[in-house]
Amino acid sequence: MASVTLEELRKTYDKKYWAVNGISLQIADGELMALLGPSGCGKSSTMRMIAGLEELTSGKIYFGDQLMNRVTPKHRNVAMVFETYALYPTLSVYENLAFPLRSAGWKNEDIERRVREIVDILQVEHLLMHKPRDLSSGQSQLVGLGRALMRQPNVFVMDEPISHLDTRLRSRMRSYIKRLHIDLGYTMLYVTHDQEEAMALADRIAIMDQGIIRQIGTPDEVFHHPNDLFVAGFIGEPPMNFLESQVVHDNGSYHLEVHGHRIAIPANLKANVQALPEKITIGIRPFYIGVSGTPDEQHTLPGRVFIVESLGDATVISIDTDDTRLQVSLEHTPALKSGDDIWLALDPDYMVGFDPHSQLALVGHNGSKA
């Protein structure tokens, strides 16, 4: 096992467009890092460069303190789990598992022993003699996982390993992978476009967009303290709400106005209120908006109910304000129906302010982000 260090990694395929545009990242030994981003953000290219399947245009890759740039995939000792399983269709499950060891020149009895070990961990003994085409998608991915576990890899890379599975299986495999990581302690890079997966699995998440990393942090950090509008909008379900607001200076005190309606200033920005730009984009998660039938001190923002969706454990209400549709998530089901006029309270403790020009989160006086 080893830590992985990327320094200013770049990749272009046609010399015009940068698929990966200067990525620096450190994955600690034994850490599970998720590489999260929408399709086309460069996460697959990054992963393939780490595995050695793709040449770098520039930059450096280290495993531990060893430079890997010119090392062939064979000698990098990276194990990989593929989105489409990538089992060899002509070989039995047993032979698929044995494949990495055979090419490494292991003796037959050693291979047999190792296959048994892995099969015990994954509980797939009954599949050993089957061909991949006889397996369900879940079984296929278990075997794919098993094949990656056969060697003792330096780095364990997973490329959207569960996105082809159905929802139930997905959450089972997810906890399975997490437990596997805890038990075996491999350095893992988990590539996904599903923020929920990344949140649930990773020790830290690197969020990528258009070839660069927008933020690296623990799930908690990226959820509560997003660096910019992209991260804020990408993480969380239902997604974060955004409102355009105006900073109003009124007799020495400051407040925010959304279409003339007064709302509070985000708690972390209060101390530094003079330095705020004229306009602020307010971000607030659906869980931190209160709803009332009448206006009062807190409930200052008027809106009209668009639709109420009851999900059993929570109720999501879509509410139209002057120009934005907000989503509010409540634990109880309020007596509301489409068309009702209501008043909203935004909790200043959980509001995040962004500069609408730079799209970056505004940093409070004490240096802490929202």
Partner: protein, 285 residues
Amino acid sequence: METQRISFGLFFRHFLILIILIVFLFPIYWMITTSFKSSEDILTRPPKFVFEPTLDNYRFAFEEADFTKFIRNTIIVAGLSTILVVTFGSIASYSFARWNPGDGHIMFFILTTRMMPAIAVIMPFFLIFRDLGKTDIGNRFYLGLDQPGALVVAYTVFNLPFAIWLMHSFFQDIPMELEDSARLDGYSRLQVFFRVVLPLAAPGIAVTAIFSLLFAWNEFLFAFVLTRDDARTITVGVSSFQTQQGILWGPLTAAAVVCVVPMLVVALFLQRYMVRGLTFGAVRG
């Protein structure tokens, strides 16, 4: 009633199949029976359906007309050219499928070489092989006129574009992840090609080989122009029974049967493989 309608439909369908089979199979039936008839039985009117079979025609074809040699030549030429086509074709096709050198232009250029009919290139071929035959290299590799090497080269050149295009989709259908996985497991590029890609492309390669073999086996024009006697192939041999004294129907049909049977056996034997190869493409991971 429901059952009656179905059985009528079924009857009609089978009747139609029967008609079509007769239309297609009767000439072959006639060829085979004629090859076993004596010359008097062949020419009688009305034609005889019941007759006393004889092997005279086969005896004539093999003893007087030297068909053993023609068959040997055909096997050598068709076999060698097929091996060359599959070897070069699979390598070329794989690199087109994975890296597409020339952004499709080279691929298209390869196709253009098939845009003229064989008759258009036969004179240049004739001149090239005539002169090649006078050189040392030409002699060593039997590349002169009336030598098998010339036909092998001609057939390979003519079949290669088709083979590259046919195999292209088979290679494309092999998931890239399988190659990635094998490379991570310690295989070099070449090992990946030989141990992972080729086995998976086997159905496609088999189909290509069969088509290439069929073409070379049945080819007439090149063989007719480029050979005279020593390297003569079976199709040209069959045509040689059209003599100035008239068509020798008996030996001609006997020779034709000998020509058809091997390919029929190959096709029957590999039919399932071929259909699967053509319809399903390669493998899904």
